[in-house]
Symmetry: C2
Subunit: 373 residues, 2 copies
């Protein structure tokens, strides 16, 4: 089902979101963590895939985890009656009543949030699910172990239904401090004797640290078929599918003579007479400006049957990418290209650009039309 039509007479770029791949990836997560309930993390508009697509593809989840209360409202307005977790809890006290009205679970990570909830409980007495966040070494959000037990007791006495939660800093790497083991030790010590369900595992832990997942896991990046490490090889045997494909077309072809340069700064110099393809996609669409020469772009064959990889040649500009067409002599104006998706893992584009796939899928810009299939 295509729920958003791509205007046929516009600039030819578009993103396609495959809800079948969402379903496949969620099933894979169930196989990997059969004992845990799943918070499907859809912050950042479903990592750039749209809330609409996430709801269509991930409806079998146990709950959705997100940041913006407006996104929780959107889910309720679109008939999601399951659980919703506000991953950073309340940003301001004024959100509290709306969060309760929407039936949201909330993360609590600061004394300020504890105070807001404490005063609210005194005159409302609502029963709300709280995921109390322990800072077990990430040092970003959450209570230090020495503060954690006190926060737990305060909220527990106020009538809230508490869960223990922490977040791994390095579940995707083995040589960084703090390690998963150190964080788990810290967590177990901090929660000792405080009976409550737990939530630990992010994507990297679900893939590589399955002893430490907890009752609720929080997969994010793996739902989208992208590697937690930034390296596609690390998930190539994990049977995950790319959900987003970014497509465009060749809009012009330049015939360069040996020694001529392409684009701003003239970074690419033609080593022989050759053709350059100009693609309608640039950094203002969310393609990384830092992509170096050699970043793969897939160009469909003239007959539409298969295609070949052509390398980026020259600096990515705001609205255009230039590629080396020596491997695709029959490419022409109008040839379809894939910037990332099943033919070109977004991780590979990110790797050639000094970043990780997360950043690219999240940062697709508003001018790129999105089709949900």
């Amino acid at each position: 089902m295509v729920s958003m039509a791509i205007p046929s007479i516009n600039r030819p770029i578009s993103a396609v979101i495959d809800t079948k791949a969402f379903r496949h990836n969620l099933n894979r997560i169930r196989e990997l963590a059969p004992e845990s309930k799943v918070w499907s993390v859809i912050k950042a508009k479903g990592y750039g895939h749209t809330l609409e697509a996430a709801l269509q593809g991930l409806g079998a989840t146990d709950g959705f985890a997100l940041l913006d209360i407006a996104d929780a409202q959107w889910l309720r307005d679109h008939d999601w009656n399951g659980r919703i977790l506000l991953l950073e809890g309340l940003f301001h006290q004024a959100e509290l009543e709306r969060a309760v009205a929407l039936g949201c679970d909330m993360v609590v990570h600061s004394e300020k949030q504890v105070a807001w909830l404490e005063s609210y409980a005194n005159h409302a007495g609502h029963s709300i699910n709280i995921f109390l966040k322990l800072n077990s070494g990430m040092n970003r959000l959450g209570f230090r172990p020495e503060q954690y037990r006190n926060a737990f007791h305060v909220l527990h006495s106020a009538g809230y239904r508490l869960h223990h939660m922490t977040h791994f800093a390095n579940a995707d790497q083995v040589d960084r401090y703090p390690s998963v083991g150190e964080q788990v030790d810290c967590f177990e010590q901090a929660i000792q004797g405080l009976e409550a369900a737990t939530s630990l595992g992010n994507s990297a832990a679900i893939l590589w640290h399955r002893n430490y997942l907890g009752d609720w896991i929080r997969p994010g990046i793996m739902l989208y078929g992208v590697s937690p490490t930034g390296v596609f090889a690390d998930i190539v045997r994990s049977d995950l599918q790319a959900v987003m494909t970014l497509n465009s077309e060749i809009i012009d072809i330049q015939h360069l003579k040996k020694g001529e340069h392409v684009g701003y700064g003239g970074r690419f110099e033609a080593p022989e007479d050759m053709k350059i393809g100009v693609i309608a996609c640039g950094y203002a669409d969310g393609y990384p400006r830092q992509a170096s020469d050699g970043t793969p772009v897939w160009v469909q064959s003239a007959g539409g049957d298969g295609g070949v990889i052509c390398p980026v040649a020259g600096q990515v500009s705001m609205d255009m990418i230039t590629i080396d067409l020596r491997g695709a002599p029959q490419a022409m104006i109008g040839s379809k290209v894939e910037l990332w998706g099943n033919e070109v893992p977004v991780d590979d584009v990110a790797h050639m650009s000094g970043t990780i796939g997360y950043e690219l899928i999240c940062a697709l810009t508003a001018r790129v039309p999105v089709a949900v299939t």
Copy 2:
């Protein structure tokens, strides 16, 4: 006039667009190039500033230049009766009638576009402004000199009103090939004897190559108060004003002990006991993930009177930035911060992230609310 309210109970990030700064920058461009008409370049949704803000702030321009015909439609729907230039012309033949109905001027850069216009002229006879694009060395879009004259003659005979256009690859740099001088020589030779108005100057040329601007200039990045070179020092005396400010708040504070690490990968290690501020802004908002430790963030003083620069400390994550609060001992949860704007040039953030300001302002994501003032 605030035309879009910022929800007060949401995640505290927002962008503010200052239409007075737009007016100021357009006036500066008029001073620098008094002989030229101005195409204000507002592709990529006004470089991320919204079309609404561009129309409010730049209404005194001679015309708007953009890519998407949907954006041209938006301008007409909002009572812009002046000229509009489609900077990459038609992407598909099917756009032609709509472009004509909207009264758009069009760039023509490929033989295919010439063919579409030739066949259209035969049965329609409309008088349309064409900006014929010469590839004078950028090797991205446009006709090579040997093809240019033929394209000119074909369209001229078909009744179109022609203009000469080219684009500089290196107007912001002095040591790259092709130079402005080489491109101008190529241009002058190619158009010799073909009488028509010209369009050359981009922002860098308007600032630093004012002998080669042409009848129509095409300022883009300087309209937004951002440096064409990526280095703020290069425009610090050009009297341009930042149009976009990206604001947020501190949502948590961590008390680190000496030797503790922050965030994914533990990149920042506390050199002494210290406080870390956690800001509601991350790469899924468009802040660059590559920002290195030391990237400046402005933190407002407790009294609201002035503020101080605090450096990024630790890897930028999807929804959060962590900063070193040793210079702002009174900062607290709720303290206002500026990520870029008048206190922190976006060029400086870009420079610390291995990119240029263009990419940051264009890539602000849909989840950031925008207020136009």
